[in-house]
Symmetry: C2
Subunit: 468 residues, 2 copies
């Protein structure tokens, strides 16, 4: 993909930009200096007055795409004259009938003219090289396309529009000011002067650490938002855990199925509600067992809780004795000592509810939802409870880190800053401190792409879909 | 889909026009009087001067698609002011990031405004109702999208551009002139006059029959071109039939796999070469048997030949004795008495070729190809032979019927014309002859859609993909 010396090729690339397969229309995208030339060689416009000289940017032209006097298709072409295009280069989009044969023929014809099949992400890579977006924004484009829930979409959109870049650039500029004074001291090191006020430095370091920590801690939220918030369903055998899971999953199917034409891959055991994606942990056992033979041990229960952010503790409230209530409550209270998790007590089988156990009051004081999974009663109350739990998460931070590469760079930057602090505290020489400052700058620079390597770019853009 | 009284709804319809799934970009299409209104309610153009009053047709506008102050996506919109659009109505195409979530959100938002999800083929149905294309052209759009080979593509393109319509309209206008004179005779029937010259009529009927027969007979070719030309591989056990099949299919894979980004569904045992699609008959047995246990009876062989257009007769030429050659030749000559099929004699295992059998000359006089399926030698010669065989088919007829609905209508029209002829010959009264003429006109009219019913339209457009 990359010309190792310049990091950038300026040949003309081509790819199908729309999803693979057949449909009403497909779009083939060309970018590079010969986009217009290659396309117009085969495009016979209905409007005979259109020529390579007078074609206008951001206009649509209808005509035939022709090769060897054979009409391949009736197409619409859009012309985006660089730099007013996605890549900043001349871009042509050919909108043809969505037949795989036609898509393939048009690409073959343009390849024969000298275009080259684009690598995954190469259009966006060119946009990055041409300064249309920084690296974290480019990464957000891939996240945006992959986003399946409103929360993941919103994070990607914020990042694409520069949210995290602004924050990182701000931190980096602070650190650069700091670094320049330190470097100045190094230049005059033999004269033993201190240009940089140590008091101010400690304040700055403290500020940086606060900001970095806040970004770092936002990652656990950002990551679960992106991947799905992990939910564990636990409880004694026969309390109706698998029935509850099915009731929850059915609820979702009803929500998403009213829009024809949008096929959804069946991702088992995830669930999107009010824009939040929930992911059920280890439900394979639940599904197979159908509650009867299932009997998971206490160890496996703790293992599930460990992986979860939210835990649904299911209890059969239908025919529960007073002694049983006591036992259940003790178990539940033991679990909720883990304050890093959010627990919801689910009283199931309200359809079989007999005499109210005298300990019911104690249950009511918990974060409780009463449902009948079997009859699908009150399932909405449970989904509301799930959504409200997520809303309680600390999302005051307007910039949420959801990319693990960014997370790692922030952790590394934070470590370097801690080294700087420690260095000052231990009166380490300025030249050693300068190394750590440079390291922190480097780490922050990799996020927005101020600092890149071919490997890094290959790794990031290789994950893109073709045509973007 | 259809308003039964008018046959046409003028509400605003919406659908995803690009293939389902995620990709770099997707296109959402709106058609109807409120397309622009619905879209601009949510579209915040980068160019603030763009308004509903000054938006220009066939131009692209970049901006944000916004709902409840949330940016759903950065989009490009294309505006096609009716009647200069696919449907002749106002059409908007929204080009967004190819995320399923974003596609779904944009559709949900526009549905909430009052747009309606388009039925399959409804955009094309509107184009038909608004006179943008006739019925056979509309059907060709679906064929074009489904076409997988150059020959199927070329037939669909000809039909979409009016090839068959021109022909049918020509035949129909001839018949209408004829009919009007006959109807005139009916009006003056009591006076016993003949406005229509009977001699001319017989000539016209003869012409019509010739034209109709030519179109009808083109269907068997048109249909195999569209579905794939059926090829049978026959021969004695252990001559290498399954190895030959694999060699042929591998050949194709090499041809199509050099274009990344175009996924092809793995359609087993079809094969496209030089734009012709070949379909191997009943290869399941071949594939399973791997030639060793396979031993199909003479009856099943004839059954396969019956289904085929081209038959590959495979013979092990490697170690063949003189007596065996004689036997094989006798068998082969028996098969080729069926003149409706095209036979190719495939001499396999040339890699094991020993002493040339003295009867080889007789073999060489046949339509023969010598290959080594195992070593993939001369496979290209065999594919050339297949292509040349297809080219020998009678394709002098420039209009080829590939649609079975058209075929049936043509057969019915031809029968009606024969009734007319018989009527004249038997001095049947003019009013009865007029019925048959009207029937022939009706049948031809259904092809181009001069005559339609809601059922017919529902049947045709229901097979379309959503968004077209």
């Amino acid at each position: 993909m990359l010309n190792k010396s310049t990091g950038y090729n300026d040949d003309t690339i081509i790819a199908i930009a729309t999803p693979a397969g057949s449909g009403a229309i497909s779009v083939i995208r060309l970018s590079g200096p010969n986009s217009l030339l290659f396309c117009l060689k085969h495009f016979h416009p209905v409007n005979k007055n259109m020529t390579v000289e007078n074609i206008e940017s951001h206009k649509l032209y209808f005509g035939n795409f022709v090769s060897d006097e054979t009409i391949i298709d009736e197409v619409l072409i859009s012309y985006f004259k660089g730099p007013s295009s996605y890549t900043s280069e001349d871009v042509i989009e050919i909108s043809c009938h969505g037949s795989e044969f036609i898509q393939q023929r048009i690409i073959e014809i343009l390849l024969a003219d000298g275009a080259r099949i684009a690598e995954p992400g190469e259009f966006t890579l060119r946009a990055f090289f041409n300064g249309r977006m920084d690296l974290s924004q480019a990464e957000a484009v891939a996240d945006l396309i992959a986003s399946q829930s409103a929360s993941a979409h919103s994070m990607a959109m914020k990042q694409m529009r520069g949210g995290i870049s602004d924050k990182i650039n701000y931190l980096r500029s602070k650190l650069i000011d700091f670094a320049s004074l330190i470097e100045l001291e190094l230049d005059f090191s033999e004269e033993d002067v201190e240009f940089a006020d140590r008091e101010q430095f400690f304040n700055l370091i403290s500020d940086l650490k606060t900001e970095l920590s806040s970004l770092i801690s936002s990652f656990s939220l950002g990551n679960v938002m992106k991947q799905g918030i992990p939910v564990a369903i636990i409880g004694k055998p026969n309390v109706g855990k698998s029935t509850l899971l099915n009731a929850l999953l059915n609820e979702e199917k009803a929500i998403v199925s009213h829009i024809p034409g949008t096929t959804r891959d069946a991702i088992e055991d995830t669930f999107i509600i009010e824009g939040y994606k929930f992911r059920f942990i280890d439900t394979a056992g639940l599904r197979e067992s159908d509650d009867f033979v299932e009997n998971i041990g206490i160890e496996r229960t703790y293992e599930k809780i460990k992986q979860a952010t939210i835990v649904l503790y299911v209890c059969d409230i239908g025919n529960i004795s007073n002694s049983k209530v006591k036992e259940v409550l003790e178990e539940f209270k033991q679990y909720i000592q883990d304050e890093t998790k959010h627990f919801i007590f689910v009283g199931n089988k309200i359809d079989q509810l007999g005499k109210l156990p005298s300990h019911i009051k104690e249950i009511l004081e918990l974060d409780t939802v009463f449902v009948s999974a079997k009859r699908k009663e009150n399932i909405q109350l449970l989904t509301d409870a799930l959504v409200n739990t997520v809303k309680k998460f600390n999302i005051s931070n307007d910039v949420i880190v959801s990319n693990s590469r960014h997370y790692q760079a922030l952790v590394n930057a934070n470590e370097a800053i801690e080294q700087v602090e420690e260095g000052f505290n231990n009166d380490i020489t300025t030249d050693l401190i300068a190394i750590d400052i440079r390291q922190a700058l480097h780490e922050l620079g990799t996020i927005t792409g101020e600092i890149t390597t071919d490997d890094l770019l290959g790794n990031i853009f290789g994950k893109f879909c073709i045509g973007k």
